[in-house]
Structures are given as C-alpha cells and as structure tokens.
Amino acid sequence: MAGTGKAHLRNSPDVLLRVEDLTVEFPVGRTGLKVNAVSGISLDVLRGETLGLVGESGCGKSTTGRAIMQLRRPEGGSVVFEGNELTKMTLAEMREARTRMQMIFQDPISSLNPRRKVRDIVMEPLTIWKRGSNAERATKVDALLSEVGIDPDRAAESQPHQFSGGQCQRISIARSLVLDPTLIICDEPVSALDVSVQAQVLNLLEDLKAKHGLTLIFIAHDLAVVKNISDRIAVMYLGKICEVAPSDGLYQQPAHHYTKVLLDSIPVPDPEVALHKVAIEGEPPSPVLPPPGCRFNPRCPAADDRCRSEEPQLREIGAGHFVACHHPLVGGESPVSVRTTADA
C-alpha cells in the first residue's frame, strides 16, 4: 500500500529539512508483530518556518521528531537536513549534525540533570565541543540565560529542583540554543505547564526564533497552541499525515474530518458556546493492526466502503492546503483512482 503521498513537498532552495517515506516500527515482544508508529510520512520545513505537528497520543508525532533527530534510527525513508542525508550517517557524523539541530522535551524537570548546577548544564555543550575560551563560554551562557529570563547568578549556584517547571523549560531552551543550531524540534514543550506560564514560554519561543533565525518543528496535541506558533500545520493520525495546511487556513476551513474533531474538542473559554456534544467517541485503534484503507475510517462519520479499502493520498485542494481524504469537508471528492476503475 502506498504512503500518504508527497504532493505537499515543495521544491525550493529554502528547504532546510526534507523527510520522505519515514517509517518507524517497534517489535512487540517475540510475537513477530510490530507497532506501526510512523508509516511512511513525508514532510518538509523551509528555513525560518515553524511547522506544527499535531495529533492524539500514539499518533506518532513524538516518534517522528525523535526519528528526524536519529535518536531512534528509522526503519525506512530518508531525512535530509541542510542537504545531508542523516539516516546514512555514522554515529560520530550524527553527533556533529546534532549541534545544528536540537530538541526540547515535554518534561522540563526530568530533562535536566538534577545533581548539577543550572549554569553548568547550559554550558556543557560548549565544553564538549570545545567552543571558545572559558571566558567566552561564560559570557555566552550568561547572555543566553538572561535572554530566556533566568538570572545567571542564581543559575550558577542552583540546581534544577530550585526552579519551577516554567523556569526549567526556559533553561532547557537556553541549553538548546547554546550551540547556535538552525533547527529546534520542540516536543510538547508547554503541555506540562500552566496556561499563564505556557503563554510566557510561547512568546519567548517566538522572540528567540526571530532573534536567532531559527526554524522550528513544534509538536503538540493542542491545536490552539500549535496554531498560535506555526506557519504550517501537519495533522497526524495513527502514523500517517491526514492534512497539511497554512495554520490560518486549517482553522478557517478544516478539510479532514479528523482535523474538525480536534478543533471541536478544544474547550472554549466561554460558557455561552461551550455546550457542545462530544465531538468523537472512542480512541484511536491499535497501531499494531491499523485498519485497512483510511486509518481514520472506524471513527469517521463520512466513511464508506471506499474508505475501508483504498487509502487516500494527499492532494491539493487549495493554496498550500493538502488533504488525504476521499470525502473531505471542503475541496470535493477525491478522483477515483486508476486501480478502482480497473477493478470496476
């Protein structure tokens, strides 16, 4: 069966990262079965762009982030970053490449070494890569800490547990910036934070992105958060991409039924409009035995026989707006494929 298509990939000299047919599988014990975590997805990110990856738990969004970083080698597909193929790199080459692509994780407290001083944690990448003199390193770290809103003097004498969750996330961000990377993959960076702190961290990321000329991949399950920070959003479901669109377009005209569900599930902070019915019943099926055809068909209100047998391909329905659905909410029915006409 084909992947979800590559119609949405762009041919531009500005492409910083290009992922094609990325596949990640996990074996299930000795059963011979496998978890199809990511099933042949393709995506690209332009320089200076923020790509949002959104979906429920288990849709493969974090695994995609980790596979791009080669933290887990993907089972198939290619990842080209700044013109270099990452999947074929040796461990040493990959370590070098990771100085230019960094990652921020969901739980800020457990991603920092609890026994070290915060300032040393932020400085460590510079020490490992022997960048600059001691004085230069110190100046750089102090400047970065101040930039993310952490007092460098306090950081010099405190350990992570002496900071709040929001502050620890700021420290993680400072650490990710210290080697001057071009790409930062943010895996649910604000999901563990209070709404008020979440807003502070999102604003901070926007500021840093502008100042340091960063490109971001922002992974989250909350579409409102993703929409706020992203230029382009890819919606994932059960290891596949079902819709790619500019963030404002995705909200104004969701085409995939799953995107609509995600949008409707966001609690509206207004008691007058909040009395809506549950948008969707049940939870995603197991990625060990994903349903044939469109993977969303068991939960989709518009599913028919075609959705249960033929996998929809990504196709363009508007400027930069791509959907993998036979019966999308906008953009018309998908053309009947050659295979089905031949069968008929």
Binding site: Q198, E206, N228, I229, S265
Partner: protein, 359 residues
C-alpha cells in the same frame, strides 16, 4: 441504582439534612518547613449547594489542590497546621482524624486525581479495584459487587466491560484509566466528587469526553462536583460556579456565566487572556501575566497579586483588599481595590496603552 437498597443509615441521614452541602469558614492550611511556615491555604470561605458544580481555578502554587485535599482530609499528619471550619452536610469534618474520615471517603466524598496511572493499583485487576469499596463500605456480597462493577463500567462508557474487568491498568490507555478512576469514585454513590486536574494528562479529544462524562454523572446522581484546574477553558462549559484562587486566597467567586461576562479581578482577566484562541491569527502575541506566583512563606503585604498586576497602585501594595460582593449580584464577590471596569482601572489601562504607544 441498586446501591440505594444497601445505603446505610448515616448516609441517608446526612442526605436529609437541609442547607448547603459544603460550608467552609476561614479555612487555613499551613505547613511547617525548614524555610518557615508555608501558608498554602490562607483564610478561604465559601459554600457549595447540593448537586451543584464548582470550578476551583488558579496557577500552580495557588493552593487549589491543598484546599480540596483539606476538605477531603487528605493531608500529611506531620507538620500541618489546620484551622477554620469545614462543614460537610452540616457536620464538622475539619477536625476529624483519618480513621473517622474513612467512613466519609468513598460514600460521601470521593476524589479523582490527575495521573490515572499512579492512582490505580498496578497489581490488581480493574474489576477487583472497583469492587473493593463496594464490599468494604457497603458490605456487598462478592457477586453483587462484581455485577455492580460491571454496570459502573458501562456507566462510564467503557466498551466490552466483561473483558475490561479482568484486565490490569497497564493494559488500558490513559483515558480508559481515568474512566476507571471515575467508576471507582462513583461506586458508593458519593454526594460530592472532587476532581483534581482530571484531564490535564489527557489528549484534547479525550478531555472533552471525560468532562462530558463527569457532567452527565453529576446530573444523573445529583452529586456535587468540585473541578480543580488551571485552565479556565475547562471549567467554562462544565461548572455552575467558579472560584479563582491566588496565593492561598479566594480572589473571585461568581456563577460561571457571570464571571465570564463581568469578571472583576485583574488576575482572572489575565488568566483568560493567556489562553491561545483559535480565532486569533497565528503568531499573535499572547497576553501574559508577568512574573510568578508569590512565595507563600513571605507573601506580599497588601494584595498578593499586586506585584504582578498591571493596574496596581500604592494602596494595593499596602492594604489587603477584602472579598466583597458586587452591588448588583450578591453571588459574585471579588478581592480587589480597583476592579476591572472601575474608573481607576480604565485610568491605569489608558496609562499602560499610552506608554506602549497603543490607542
């Protein structure tokens, strides 16, 4: 409900009492620590009627969790100082020991927590975990408890209940586990359910399902629901009233619709403004509340929110504003000298906008 037949006398007696279900007067919970006395809850008073739902909203460290745990009597025994009165269905529970509270937990008050994985016993089958309170509190036979457990799983919309009863927690997703927690909490038909951040660890789609389930169970069982959360969006559609906490104090309380239509506290305004809105263009600047919540060992002298309040003036730093009712709605009270909408508020806003170069 078949539980009704086995309801014991104290429970029936408690339910017959008229008046509010929950009455808090000047509740204080302080913790003795090496750094000094942490005033986690510092003088909270409110009442909650039977069958109503209340949202307690605030940031981390606002005292919302400690308040709900104080009501439940789930506090560490060492180093805790409690004062004030907590009346549950007319009976004082604030001074009860853990041993005495055991008769109230489960049957009268139940609680569900944020993390459904760690609140379930990983070594016990789901069915046995639901049956345990039924046998312990209601003295049901093994067969009755098993049948009730099955029906409770159906009530919380878990498909294939028979298969699920025999499973262990690790075989279920986070959303399913939270449904099991709700089934356990409902098992003995409590009059009040405390839900502490019940959906924070869950996906948005599952969050919507769980919140609807809680609301539905509350209406069907005429139960009071206290929903503790940091997200005003979560409580907007699922509560009758909202209490906003800051620095261990209640700073605003109002019926939900009223609160959203006419909030008075600048803190409530700030919390609402910091939620990213889908209608906004992407990359729109989010409104933030600058700074961090106060240190509860040495809280600020005047209004505890004053150091972060964009509209604060000299009086706010000196005098603590009392919780007072609004003139047009006695159910809406707030603690602020210059509330949202007052002339001083507009003056301060104009000043801020002028300095930021906005009209």
């Amino acid at each position: 409900m078949s539980i009704g037949s086995t309801t014991n006398i104290t429970q029936a007696a408690l339910r017959d009492v008229q008046g509010p279900l929950l009455e808090l007067t000047d509740v204080r919970t302080h913790f003795r620590t090496p750094r000094g006395l942490v005033r986690a809850v510092d003088g909270v008073s409110f009442t909650l009627e039977r069958g109503r739902s209340l949202g307690i909203v605030g940031e981390s460290g606002s005292g919302k969790t400690i308040l709900s745990r104080s009501i439940m009597g789930l506090l560490p025994s060492k180093g805790t100082e409690r004062s004030g009165s907590i009346k549950f269905a007319g009976t004082e529970v604030g001074n009860k020991s853990r041993k005495e509270m055991r008769h109230i937990w489960g049957k009268e008050m139940a609680m569900i927590f944020q993390d459904p994985m760690t609140s379930l016993n990983p070594l016990m089958r789901i069915g046995d975990q639901i049956a345990e309170p039924l046998r312990l509190h209601l003295g049901m036979s093994k067969a009755d408890a098993a049948a009730t457990a099955r029906r409770l799983l159906q009530d919380v919309r878990i498909p294939e209940p028979d298969r699920r009863l025999a499973q262990y927690p690790h075989e279920m997703s986070g959303g399913m586990r939270q449904r099991v927690m709700i089934a356990i909490a409902m098992a003995c038909g409590p009059t009040a359910l405390f839900a502490d951040e019940p959906t924070t660890a869950l996906d948005v789609t599952v969050q919507a399902q769980i919140l609807d389930l809680l609301g539905e169970q509350r209406r069907e069982r005429n139960m009071s629901l206290v929903l503790v959360t940091h997200d005003l969006g979560v409580v907007a559609g699922h509560t009758d009233e909202i209490a906003v906490m800051y620095g261990g104090k209640l700073v605003e309380k109002a019926p939900t619709k009223r609160l959203f239509a006419a909030m008075k506290m600048p803190y409530t305004e700030g919390l609402l403004a910091s939620i990213p809105k889908l209608e906004d263009q992407s990359h729109s600047r989010l409104n933030v509340i600058p700074g961090r919540p106060p240190d509860l060992v040495n809280p600020p002298k005047g209004c505890r929110f004053a150091p972060r309040c964009p509209y604060a003036s000299a009086r706010c730093n000196e005098e603590e504003p009392p919780l007072t009712a609004t003139q047009d709605d006695p159910n809406h009270s707030y603690a602020c000298w210059y509330p949202v909408g007052s002339p001083e508020y507009h003056e301060a806003r104009a000043r801020i906008n002028a300095s930021a170069g906005v009209n």
